[in-house]
């Protein structure tokens, strides 16, 4: 029973519909535990004071924003190669969630950096690359909406996702290069993963990451099922006319 078994839309709905509430429940409890733990029971950072508590939102959200686009890239490739409708619809379902994660990463990153940079928005290379990623999400979703025929839309958005990914990575380094020229990087590396975090902060952070990951999964499963149902409605109506 290979994984492609789930590519069949009807089977996908049948298997995921009961799952979604569970995954959602677990993810929300993870989030609550992680955030409460991080917010109430961890000491302040000696240099940054209490703003370090924003780490529990910023790092997981930033991680999910990038993983969401990566997942969409894989789903687009699967659609182009194996023509499984579910993967194309999963890519479409993941985009708004990825965008929300990017917005969260942007807001928390800006607020977190505010005390150090003294301004509400500093063109820090990392934050700026998330701003560019946000634009990519916007363009991707707009293209889906603009095209009526589902298969054509799936194909075109997949091509855009492939090309977009190359340029997203390119922009990531261009922004890195561009900001070196203006002013020195931040004292505390805000980027995902590079943080050398003492373990008292790390465990709640890990819990939050799991929470965000599961939330993303739950939302994608739910929205993909919705896209599959929408497509089924369209197909049925086309037949009944």
């Amino acid at each position: 029973m290979s994984i492609w078994e789930y590519a069949n839309p009807k089977k996908f709905i049948a298997t995921t519909t009961p799952l979604v509430p569970w995954v959602m429940g677990i993810s929300i409890s993870c989030l609550v535990v992680g955030l409460v733990w991080g917010f109430f029971f961890t000491p302040d950072d000696f240099r940054q004071g209490s703003t370090v508590k924003i780490i529990y939102l910023h790092v997981p959200a930033a991680l999910m924003a990038i993983n969401a686009w990566f997942m969409m890239l894989i789903a687009s490739l699967i659609w182009l190669v194996r023509r499984h409708h579910v993967s194309a619809l999963a890519a479409r379902a993941a985009a708004p969630i990825g965008m929300v994660m990017t917005v969260i990463a942007l807001i928390t990153g800006a607020i977190w950096g505010q005390p150090m940079w003294g301004t509400w928005w500093a063109w820090d290379p990392r934050l700026t690359s998330f701003l560019i990623l946000f634009l990519f999400y916007l363009g991707y979703m707009a293209l889906w909406e603009a095209i009526e025929d589902s298969d054509t839309a799936a194909d075109l958005t997949s091509v855009l996702c492939l090309v977009g990914s190359v340029f997203a990575v390119l922009s990531r380094y261009a922004v890195q290069f561009w900001n070196q020229g203006l002013h020195q990087g931040t004292s505390v590396p805000v980027a995902t993963g590079e943080r050398s975090v003492s373990d008292v902060f790390f465990v709640p952070l890990l819990v939050c990451m799991v929470g965000f990951g599961l939330l993303f999964l739950a939302l994608v499963l739910m929205r993909t099922a919705t896209e599959v149902r929408a497509r089924r409605i369209k197909a049925l109506e086309a037949r009944m006319r």
Binding site: P9, D149, A235, A238
Partner: protein, 204 residues
Amino acid sequence: MTLNVSDLTVVRGGVPVLADLSFSVAEGQALVLRGPNGIGKTTLLRTLAGLQPALKGSVDYAEDTGAYASHADGIKGQLSVKENLAFWAEIYGNSADESVYEAFDLVDLKDRIAGTLSSGQKRRLGLARLGVVGRKVLFLDEPTVSLDGFSVKLFARWLSEDHLAKGGIAVIATHIDLGIEAPELELAPFKAAPDAASSDEAFL
């Protein structure tokens, strides 16, 4: 060198329109497609020309010998008649020789800017493109739309004498009688059942 089609199913917007089509057209033969509007003549011709993939079945004719022409004849208004034809000739690696202009009575319009032509003349220029392209298998979608009687005869003569006589093949969707004896294919019986196999099938 013949065109044969075996149990072809063509799709428009994810919904199959024609199914289990099988026919073949020998050299020097034409085939006229008949059927009510919206039956799928254009979709069929586009699939035969390779512009869109067929859902099922196969279309085979010699590689690189097909040409498609629809009522949107790709004429550039700003270019002159000669420039338009010379362009298409160069694209297909031929040269626009005089005989084509005579065949479509365009000799005196050679240097006229295409934009200033009447719709009938413009249609003749669109058809003249087929003469210049020099392709053996033609897929023509309503070629004689907005053509006056005289031009229709011109086109029919070119088709039978310059194209079919030289071993060409043509599949034409038209309502007007072209005055050439050619087998007709009524498409109505091949209308696809609505829930026949299609890309939506996975969702049904």
